[in-house]
């Protein structure tokens, strides 16, 4: 009975892992990059001019700009500059529901960038929307995350031997053994991270995927739920009676007294200039684990304090903390790098699982001269997913430096370059000789990342050497990380190089030892 259970879990782990693996790999990699979203933004906008101003000055600047350009909007969102991102970001919705945005230098109120790019925003969005229209991408991402939970739990059962041989990794053993060790080690050692990140990932989209309770209680009026739950800035419909909006800075300073030790993150103004105006001042999201900090609501006609939202109830708090753990906005520099590292481990765990599937299958088929269609398909998709994605990311960064600044739809063309490179990698994987595709694509990826600092030095006014000498941490960190990533890809290519016999992977396979057969599903 016990064996039967483990076999079934192994079957589940193998197949669920395979089916969702390619997508999960892309989600893990882009999510890992999204940890450094503002930093990637900064690298991708090398001509960005930002004046550092105080919080009060930034609020005044936004206040001035919006009164001038969006006086009769339905609502304003003001995202204040912070130490990681000095840009003043504003969105506003007109009364017909049309959205506008402005990325400005808070000192001069001029656009902060000439080079249109989505920057790190692209990875952040792709991570949970998969470049699909709403809500399909979010649905698919949620589904993949749920499968990931299943794969993790069934994987714990399948690979439970690792808990007995904790710390075991034997890279010099036969390929399958080494891959299995690596897969186990990557999975188990970072298991706390994998479990928390996957569960919290499912939680972030739970209102979309598990709406039954909300529907039953609140029906069509989902806003009522968010009002009751608290933390959402209130926006009332316009009354039609004009009342001048008081200056925002004194309101922000009054709100700030509720959290003297941290900054203001966002200011939301509903119905500005109307008798029903509401001004909500929200605490910065890096001040606490939970995604939402404190918020203070003012009457936007009289300036009277209406509400202080700072004590979510247990269920809301649990949700907000899980959400916060997922996005890691609370994390300082060191912890952010640790998150990044764990994300890399998770990506490698998925990649090694996919490769392991193909190795095992190939091994079983060695007697037949040609692989079956299914095995071949998996191999092609493995290459396209695991080696192709780094190529696509490299193409995205290269296009950022190579496309002319004035190009129409420039930000979108960068995205096309990303998907174009990815598609080419798939075509190459399907058409080229199997023994060399891994090698070619990994080496190409290594070269693309290794040359990125050089490309950047040739096309912009900054270079890696200068960045290091001047202590520009973001620029230097980005390009050093690119070099490290190039080294990792080159090392993987080196490990996978074909020795003398027909296929890259099959050559290094020796007969499986007994213990392994017991473990194989």
């Amino acid at each position: 009975m016990k064996d039967g259970f483990r076999q079934r879990m192994a079957w589940l782990h193998t197949w669920a892992g395979l089916v969702a693996g390619w997508l999960l790999f892309a989600m893990f990699v882009t999510g890992t990059l999204a940890v450094f979203r503002p930093e990637i933004n900064q690298w991708m906008r090398p001509d960005q001019a930002v004046t550092r101003v105080s919080e009060g000055e930034a609020i005044d600047a936004a206040d001035r700009y919006l009164r001038q350009h969006a006086a009769d909007a339905a609502r304003w969102f003001i995202r204040l500059p912070n130490p990681r991102d000095g840009v003043l970001e504003m969105y506003w919705a007109t009364r017909d529901g049309e959205w506008h945005d402005a990325l400005l230098d808070p000192g001069t109120l001029r656009p902060s960038v000439q080079r249109a790019t989505l920057g790190g925003e692209f990875f952040y969005r792709f991570h949970f929307e998969l470049q699909m229209p709403y809500p399909w991408g979010r649905w698919l991402a949620s589904f993949a995350a749920m499968v990931m939970l299943v794969v993790l739990v069934s994987g714990i059962v399948t690979h439970r031997r690792f808990f007995k041989d904790f710390f075991t990794f034997r890279p010099r053993k036969a390929a399958q053994r080494a891959w299995l060790d690596a897969h186990n080690a990557l999975g188990v050692l970072a298991l706390p991270f994998h479990l928390v990140i996957t569960l919290s990932g499912v939680i972030t989209l739970m209102a979309l995927t598990m709406p039954a309770a909300l529907d039953a209680r609140y029906g069509a009026d989902s806003d009522a739920f968010y009002r009751e739950r608290g933390g959402e800035p209130p926006v009332l419909p316009r009354s039609g009676v004009d009342r001048p909006l008081p200056s925002l800075r004194p309101l922000a300073e009054a709100a700030r007294r509720h959290w003297p030790d941290s900054a203001i993150g966002t200011i939301v103004v509903g119905a500005p200039g109307d008798a029903n105006a509401r001004v909500t001042v929200l605490q910065a999201d890096n001040a606490q684990l939970r995604i939402r900090g404190a918020a203070v609501v003012f009457d936007g006609a009289t300036g009277r304090l209406l509400d202080v939202m700072n004590a979510p109830r247990a269920a809301a708090l649990t949700h907000d903390v899980l959400y916060g753990l997922h996005t890691a906005r609370f994390a300082g520099g060191g912890l952010r790098w640790l998150y990044f590292l764990c994300g890399v481990l998770g990506s490698l765990m998925i990649a090694s699982g996919l490769v392991l599937w193909a190795i095992k299958r190939r091994q079983r088929e060695t007697k037949a001269s040609r692989p079956t269609f299914g095995t071949r398909l998996v191999e092609v998709l493995n290459v396209a997913a695991v080696a192709g994605l780094p190529l696509a990311i490299a193409a995205f960064f290269w296009s950022n430096r190579l496309l002319p600044v004035g190009l129409a739809d420039r930000a979108q063309v960068e995205v096309w370059c990303f998907f174009g490179a990815w598609a080419l990698s798939g075509v190459h994987a399907a058409c080229a000789r199997p023994r060399t595709v891994w090698l070619v694509q990994l080496r190409l990826g290594a070269a693309a990342f290794a040359l990125l600092p050089l490309l950047s030095a040739l096309t912009t006014r900054q270079n890696l050497f200068q960045a290091i000498m001047r202590g520009q941490g973001v620029e230097a960190g980005f390009e050093l990380a690119a070099l490290a990533f190039a080294a990792m890809l080159a090392w993987s290519a080196h490990k996978l190089r074909p020795a003398r016999a027909p296929t890259a992977i099959a050559t290094r396979i020796e007969p499986a030892p007994r213990t392994l057969r017991e473990e194989a599903p």
Binding site: D165, F167, P171, A190, F330, L341
Partner: protein, 110 residues
């Protein structure tokens, strides 16, 4: 500084726990540990792990999150060390313990 104490003490803890296992002790020292030594290593490992958790709790909520992720970092370092440089495991474990102590003293001092 206290963050470093958490990292180093968790690293030292895992080194002790790892060497408290017959197989890994054999890889590093060429023989299985005597029963007393094994008990000592395991006890020290769990005690250090508990100590690193207490230090993390002293930092606050962020500290506990960082602790969980540092456990992963420590074990990954240890696994690579065991695979490629098994002779360095024991000395670096002692070094980790010493650094944890120094970091703790430095953080109390300042």
């Amino acid at each position: 500084m206290i963050q470093l104490a958490v990292l180093f003490s968790s690293y030292a803890a895992f080194t002790a726990l790892c060497l408290g296992m017959d197989g890994h002790h054999r890889e590093v020292f060429g023989r299985a540990p005597a029963p007393g030594r094994k008990r000592l290593l395991r006890g020290a490992g769990w005690a250090l792990l508990l100590a690193s958790l207490l230090l993390a709790i002293a930092i606050g909520a962020q500290g506990v999150v960082a602790w969980a992720v540092m456990l992963t970092l420590s074990t990954v370092l240890l696994v690579l060390l065991l695979a490629y440089w098994p002779r360095r495991v024991a000395p670096l474990g002692w070094l980790g313990l010493a650094c944890a102590g120094l970091a703790l003293v430095a953080s109390v001092w300042s």
